[in-house]
Symmetry: C2
Subunit: 355 residues, 2 copies
């Protein structure tokens, strides 16, 4: 079982003709030893001064901090990570940059993690086969956790990657997985989609079309299945659906346009797996068929991206509690999370005019 994982290594030294100048007094960057000498204490006292709740007198901490400021010292996190085996680093694996919702997640994740002392390694995974390699790269930096918010991966790849190397915690954000070695932080997708389905029924729509995203083999959303089965449960027939190969408005535009051209019996509502698909759908309907929401046709999305609130969309959609979910992620990192509720978050239906 040869793995074609590509190992990272630190390259050989090369020319650095444009480097910034270092501290001239020491000829380099100040280290804890330098500060210790200047403050008249031991190196260990210096490092203690930088650690909250450490056993150190206020007097020596003040001395150390003064000396540190003069020398421009700050603890080296590389050495600290190596010694303590905790990096305070989180890898964020993402692949679908066309989905604006991912930008929201990235923004909140980086902001909140940073405020809690974690830095974020952003890894752009090119495709499903690349995910293990990205996971490996992250593990080589000893990340405390890897967070997957992309779409192109499957449980088997994850299993291989997990077996091969240490990834302390593997977290799926806003997505589910059957893999028991994995932690999912997400909405109760089934409940959310049921809410949408019931809203669609309640509003009296009769002929839905479901627009789904990539049909990955696993770790995918259950939205399509939930909507279709819920609809079947109520109306005793299965509505049609189209699958788009990525959460990309432009691809959704094409897919929806193609479907409408190929089928003469148009739906009265287009239910989309998320807003990225919904926005593409609305554009396609408006500019290809001159169908406007909500008079000619209704559209409903998922995620409540910022663009959903703009006048040209006014998209009815479902908002996930991203901030709460990120705080749950922090709890997971700290080891204080309530594992039972991590995949039970509930958001809310945001009703605008599109449906």
């Amino acid at each position: 079982m040869a793995t074609d994982l590509c190992f990272r290594y630190i390259g050989s030294k090369e020319s650095h003709e444009t480097e910034m100048s270092m501290d001239p007094t020491t000829g380099g960057v100040a280290t804890a030893d330098d500060v210790a000498k200047r403050a008249g204490v031991s190196r260990w006292t210096v490092n203690r001064a930088f650690k909250p709740n450490a056993s150190i007198s206020t007097k020596s901490r003040a001395k150390v901090m003064a000396a540190a400021e003069e020398l421009g010292y700050a603890p080296d996190l590389l050495a600290a990570s190596l010694a303590s085996d905790r990096s305070n680093l989180v890898a964020l694996l993402i692949d679908d940059f066309a989905n604006p919702h991912k930008l929201q997640i990235i923004e909140q994740l980086t902001r909140i993690l940073r405020s809690h002392g974690w830095d974020t390694l952003l890894v752009n995974t090119l495709n499903a086969a690349d995910t293990p390699s990205a996971l490996l790269a992250a593990s080589q930096r000893r990340v405390d956790a890897a967070v997957l918010i992309g779409v192109q991966f499957n449980d088997q790849e994850l299993e291989t990657a997990l077996g091969a190397r240490r990834v302390r915690k593997l977290i799926l954000f806003a997505r589910q997985s059957e893999n028991p070695n994995t932690i999912s932080i997400c909405c109760d997708d089934k409940a959310a989609m049921t809410t949408i389905a019931d809203y669609v029924v309640g509003q009296g729509y009769k002929r839905p079309l479901f627009v789904a995203g990539p049909q990955t083999t696993s770790a995918h959303l259950l939205r399509k299945e939930t909507f279709l089965s819920r609809w079947h449960h109520i109306h005793t027939h299965q509505p049609p659906f189209v699958a788009v190969s990525a959460y990309d408005p432009q691809l959704s535009y094409q897919a929806v346009a193609d479907h409408f051209r190929a089928n003469s019996d148009h739906p009265d509502i287009v239910v989309c797996e998320n807003d990225a698909l919904a926005m593409g759908a609305i554009d396609a309907l408006r500019y290809e068929f001159n169908l406007n929401t909500p008079n000619d046709i209704a559209v409903i999305g998922f995620d409540d991206v910022p663009q959903a609130a703009t006048p040209q969309y006014q998209l009815t959609t479902y908002r996930q509690p991203i901030v709460e979910m990120v705080h749950a992620l922090v709890d997971v990192l700290k080891g204080t999370a309530d594992m039972a509720t991590l995949n039970q978050f509930s958001g809310q239906l945001v009703v605008r005019t599109s449906a």
Copy 2:
């Protein structure tokens, strides 16, 4: 000069009840020593096997790689960085997540840097005062370079941050700075904006309105100044402008709507510092004043974000060569860049129907 920079530290050990299982045979993660023992060579030979162009026989490399695969070994980049003083890590500092162009940059940057062996630390800088703190955090991880693609920072803050700690290379991406310790990788903004101005003149527009972004004290774009002075040079009068506090379509929407409400003499073209502002402007004109492009009014942008090509915008804009610019960044990291041309990139005007 007290700095209120907040130092990062590695917290104390806590419970890790949900950690992944380690390799049972060794009780932990395989190290080079383990591989060495198994392959019957020394530890140094093992590490050499993972370094291209290292002095090692093909036979022992094969032995090492076989043993490494059996043990799931990969070099520890933390230890490597500490020992070699090169991290192959780049910090990416960003603050304006509302601007879709930043997403494009992030995508290309992470993709291309990774293909060249660099990992990316994404740091969300909350505001101008936060930038030095973010730079400090990056330096604590010994990044090889910090790349600024945000907007909220100024040269003085940078100077302070640079003095305080080591940031090997400070790079401004798609932005200029007067700070000589800084490397700017960007378009020739003056030439680009002159191209736009001349296009606007050539198309016969007479009454432009310029929509500018945040008026930061330095390191900002010269687009407004260039357009206004170019227009003044040709038409001997200074056109009006509005400044938006962030590159956010929604804020642009508001600002443009307010301006149009307050001024009865409407422009015949709205020239925007970038597409984020242009899209907000188009929306405001369409939904607040029922003015459509290009029949009622023209709009021109900058960046050529994906949304600019959609039917509702069809935005005439200027495309920067992002991929080339990222490759230049790689050259800078390698130390092989031609410094003279780094801020001389030229893009192209993309003419659509909006102007």
